[in-house]
Amino acid sequence: MTGQAHTGRPSKLLRNLSSKIASIPMMLTAVVIFLGGTVWTVVYSFTNSKLLPRAKFVGLDQYERLWDAPRWIVSIQNLAIYGIFTLIFSLVIGFLLAALMDQKIRFENTFRTIFLYPFALSFIVTGLVWQWILNPEFGVQSVVRSLGWESFTFDPLYNSDIVIYGVLIAGLWQGTGLVMCLLLAGLRGIDEDIWKAARVDGIPMWKTYLFIVIPMMRPVFITTLVIIASGIVKVYDLVVAQTSGGPGISSEVPAKYVYDYMFQAQNLGQGFAASTMMLVTVAIIIVPWAYLEFGGRKRG
């Protein structure tokens, strides 16, 4: 139902011309920056570039070293845990909040701003504040103890086994507001008549949400999912500010490995190899899905 509807146009190239012209920035960005930059990165991951990119090829050396590094393995495990929990919790909490906000409540603006404001603060500060609150000496633990529960222990940031959950708490605090906002925007795009129709048919509210509204919001959910997921893959500042990857290496994440090796260790090759591995993983998941999602379905 797009430009293809016009059959009288002389040339295939000129068909839908405005749309093509309008998309030039997108095409350039996709091809030159993202595709070009990625190819460049992958090529240099096979070199031993140090401070500056240099084309001295060393085969798979960087990759062998990467997969031998205990820190890289820990990083990947942490990302998996952090990722799964962030996805689940931010979608569930975000949607619940959005649904509550959509009940024609009073003070909507105030509540929305309260849920959203953490997003305005940088990750650096989020990490810092939560580092304090979770600090056993003057944070939650000490307050609870001073209330009389002497044996109470809550020190996630100093316990290697659970430190990543400490990071999770801070990450959720910062990010769920935006998820709520996105889903709220989606809910506001739902036709009022649908609610009326459901009410007339006597369908309970929770069923309306689950079987009618949520499926209709599929595109918004997909946007949200991509935003959350790309945020998860790139998580860096939060960990740096909150734990610096500690104790030891127990809260390291892949993006931090990439940056640390690119800029602190001045081993661009190693950093590029790590980021190539991240990208390959992402591509394996996203490309087939994106093809089905964006390519398969014809619309408009």
């Binding site: 309008a22 920056i33 993202f34 409540i105 404001y117 940088s122 996105l182 595109p219 590029f272």
Partner: protein
């Protein structure tokens, strides 16, 4: 169930173009019903969780350093002082320049305003083209873009330095605006594409039958119907660009350094005593602009912009 859901295309087009932004539905009931207690109770509890760190920040920023060393982070200040705020804004040093955050404030504005506007404009047109005027090959570009959203920024620094250098705009404001537009593009394009494609298709069809073209439909139908999503895009971009530190310093010269450079220097200084109170004040000051924007633009979020119009 689906067939109970019907959309009347005809009047929607006419109404949507002149849709107001007032909430339509009935006024909220003021009764103390069980439902309301549940509703507001849950919201209030959630709000507490979100507000707790803010409380800690505000309280800390109002304390003097000796009091912070003593203490409990939750206790209110014994002696309220606004010194940290004044220091963060006007006298905290960045190297030799001791004029606090105020130094970078206007630079941040100069960077954020054009970058936000241009990136949203470009991305919304992309999204619109992808949703409603799809051409052959468009999905390929789009898929690349989405995968691009997952690339860690730092990895792209050196290639982009090369591109900007070859274009001769390395170190200029234009270069920085382009960089922000590029990195905002994947998510924003996705946002707009998906939002536009979830709007009733009949609107678009009807406009085409009326003979409206690409830009006409964009400006007269899509724009007015999509305020909430524009607000979300604005939230994303203003926050991202205002809080950006890396691009601001890597791609420009010191005379354009944004406020976050000073924030970084205040918060991130490794040596010397950490002035937590100044850190917190600096943070709150830096966050004030996005916060203000959220609060004001939030009013555009009301129900019934598009949907309410359908009832006519």
């Amino acid at each position: 169930m689906a067939d109970t859901v019907s959309i009347k295309p005809g009047p929607a087009l006419a109404a949507a173009t002149k849709a107001g932004i007032e909430p339509r539905g009935a006024k909220p009931r003021r009764t103390l019903s069980g439902r309301n207690i549940m509703l507001y109770g849950t919201l209030a509890v959630a709000a507490l969780y979100y507000l707790l760190p803010l409380y800690v920040m505000v309280v800390t920023s109002l304390k003097g350093m000796p009091e912070i060393r003593l203490g409990n982070i939750f206790s209110p200040p014994l002696e309220v002082t606004f010194e940290p705020w004044a220091k963060a804004w006007a006298t905290a040093c960045t190297g030799l320049n001791c004029d606090g955050l105020s130094r970078g404030f206007w630079n941040s504005v100069r960077i954020t305003v054009p970058s936000t506007l241009i990136s949203i404009l470009v991305a919304s047109v992309n999204g619109y083209a992808l949703a409603n005027w799809k051409f052959k090959g468009a999905d390929l570009f789009f898929t690349i873009l989405i995968v691009g959203a997952f690339i860690p920024y730092q990895v792209m620094i050196y290639p982009i330095v090369i591109v900007l250098r070859e274009m001769g705009i390395y170190g200029t404001l234009t270069g920085l605006i382009i960089v922000h537009t590029i990195f905002g593009m994947p998510i924003l394009t996705l946002l707009f594409r998906n939002y536009f494609s979830s709007l009733p298709e009949e609107l678009f069809k009807a406009a085409r039958i009326d003979g409206a073209g690409f830009w006409q439909i964009y400006f007269r139908i899509m724009l007015p119907m999509s305020l909430p999503i524009f607000v979300v895009a604005m939230i994303l971009q203003i926050t991202g660009i205002w809080n950006d530190f890396l691009f601001g310093v890597v791609f420009t010269r010191p005379e354009y350094y944004p406020m976050t450079v000073q924030l970084n220097n205040i918060v991130n200084s490794v040596q010397g005593v950490k002035e937590y109170n100044v850190n917190m004040a600096a943070t709150l000051l830096t966050g004030a602009v996005p916060l203000f924007v959220y609060f004001v633009s939030g009013r555009l979020f009301v129900r019934g912009i598009a949907a309410g119009a359908v009832k006519g």
